[in-house]
């Protein structure tokens, strides 16, 4: 009986495939699938959401905290006057924008320095003093309001809520297995990027619709650019790169306004903001 150890050739227990090749195939393939799933889900939800009655959205909104913040604060007489004025302007613009009858806009004025305004569930629009202070005339304010009304008209808040829930569910379902904390992060980022591009489309649409409303309301769209100038002034400190931002870049938006303004002939006059708004501005500065 012989005893010996023979040399075993290499490469039986390890695969020869280059790890980088495997990585790129997997990353690209899974990335593409993620994008596809997120896009399909977003499209499907964007369609389905329109079957949810606006009244349901309103009752949802009553439990949403954003409007709570705005409602909890008891407005002073002065602030109430501003809110009433904003509400009246919004109502007039809603008519010009042909907002469906079952939808109604509620404007909330927040006495805060934040340069921001947003539309949320149930037709609620929240506007901060910080932004109004930067607006030079009513035309810019009307542009802002019609932009937010357009969002409500396209049901953007509930669409993005639905998308958020659906995309979140899909991405969360990936977390249940494997050593996936890292790969999940990879896929999560891809998914997030995709959904961001989607909401950018909504923003562009809202801009266009707002410009059309201004055209109808004032007879021209001049002054709309002041809104974007004010916005970029407010956030110039930290301007996120285009890929990662929800809103289109200011230059892109200004260019769009420019296209609309091209139809305006001759000098136009801007409607000034009411005196109490300007007084407020002077007072707070």
């Amino acid at each position: 009986m012989k005893y010996e150890n023979r040399t075993i050739p290499e490469g039986i227990n390890v695969s020869e495939e280059h790890p980088l090749k495997e990585f790129f195939i997997l990353a690209l393939g899974l990335g593409a699938i993620t994008i596809l799933v997120v896009v399909m889900l977003s499209l499907a939800i964007g369609k389905l959401v329109h079957f949810i009655p606006f009244s349901v959205e309103q009752s949802l909104a009553s439990s949403s905290f954003a409007t709570d913040i705005a409602d909890d604060v008891v407005l002073s007489k002065e602030q109430q006057r501003i809110e009433d004025y904003l509400q009246q302007l919004a109502d007039e613009l809603s008519v010009a924008q042909q907002l469906p009858n079952d939808m109604n806009i509620i404007v909330h004025y927040v006495d805060g320095d934040t340069v921001n305004a947003f539309a949320t569930l149930g037709g609620n629009i929240i506007i901060y003093r910080g932004l109004i202070e930067l607006l030079p005339h009513e035309n810019a304010l009307a542009m802002l309001l019609s932009h937010e009304i357009a969002h409500i008209k396209q049901r953007a808040p509930i669409v993005s809520l639905g998308r958020g829930v659906a995309v979140g569910l899909v991405l969360a379902s990936l977390s249940g297995f494997g050593d996936s904390s890292v790969s999940q992060q990879l896929i999560g980022n891809v998914g997030l990027l995709t959904s961001l591009t989607f909401s950018r489309d909504q923003e562009e649409q809202a801009d266009i619709e707002a410009l059309q409303t201004l055209e109808k309301y004032y007879g021209h769209t001049a002054g709309a650019e002041s809104l974007f100038e004010a916005l970029s002034e407010g956030e110039s400190a930290l301007n996120p790169p285009k890929l990662l931002s929800t809103h289109p870049q200011t230059e892109d938006r200004l260019e769009r306004v420019g296209r609309f303004n091209g139809s305006t002939i001759g000098a136009v006059s801007y409607k000034p903001l009411p005196a109490f708004l300007i007084k407020e501005e002077a007072f707070s500065r």
Partner: protein, 104 residues
């Protein structure tokens, strides 16, 4: 190729002992299977997907071990053993090892 976990094969005589041969593999099932297994965890019972996974992995590890044995000119692997570990969740990591021999 004779693969067994006994050392003395009845009626056969080992002429040459060639040393240890080993096979290893790490495999996983696709995400769908993992999700199904997760659901099954609620109700209990056999995780068919994972049974399959481990079976496939064991077969592959054995096949690799047998290939090593073949490469060094053996015609049997005796005293085969298996060992498992879990570096990562949802994957099967299998070792198969034994002694490659020439029998007649």
């Amino acid at each position: 190729m004779l693969v067994t976990n006994i050392e003395i094969i009845p009626g056969k005589r080992v002429t040459t002992h060639l040393g240890m041969v080993q096979g290893n593999t790490v495999r996983s099932k696709h995400a769908g299977r993992d999700i199904m297994a997760g659901l099954k965890n609620i109700f209990g019972g056999e995780l068919v997907g994972y049974t399959e996974l481990l079976q496939e992995s064991r077969e592959e590890a054995t096949a690799r071990m047998v290939q090593q044995a073949k490469e060094i000119g053996a015609n049997a692997v005796i005293n085969v053993r298996y060992s498992t570990s879990s570096v990562t969740a949802g994957a099967a990591e299998l070792f198969a090892y034994g002694t490659a021999v020439i029998i007649e």
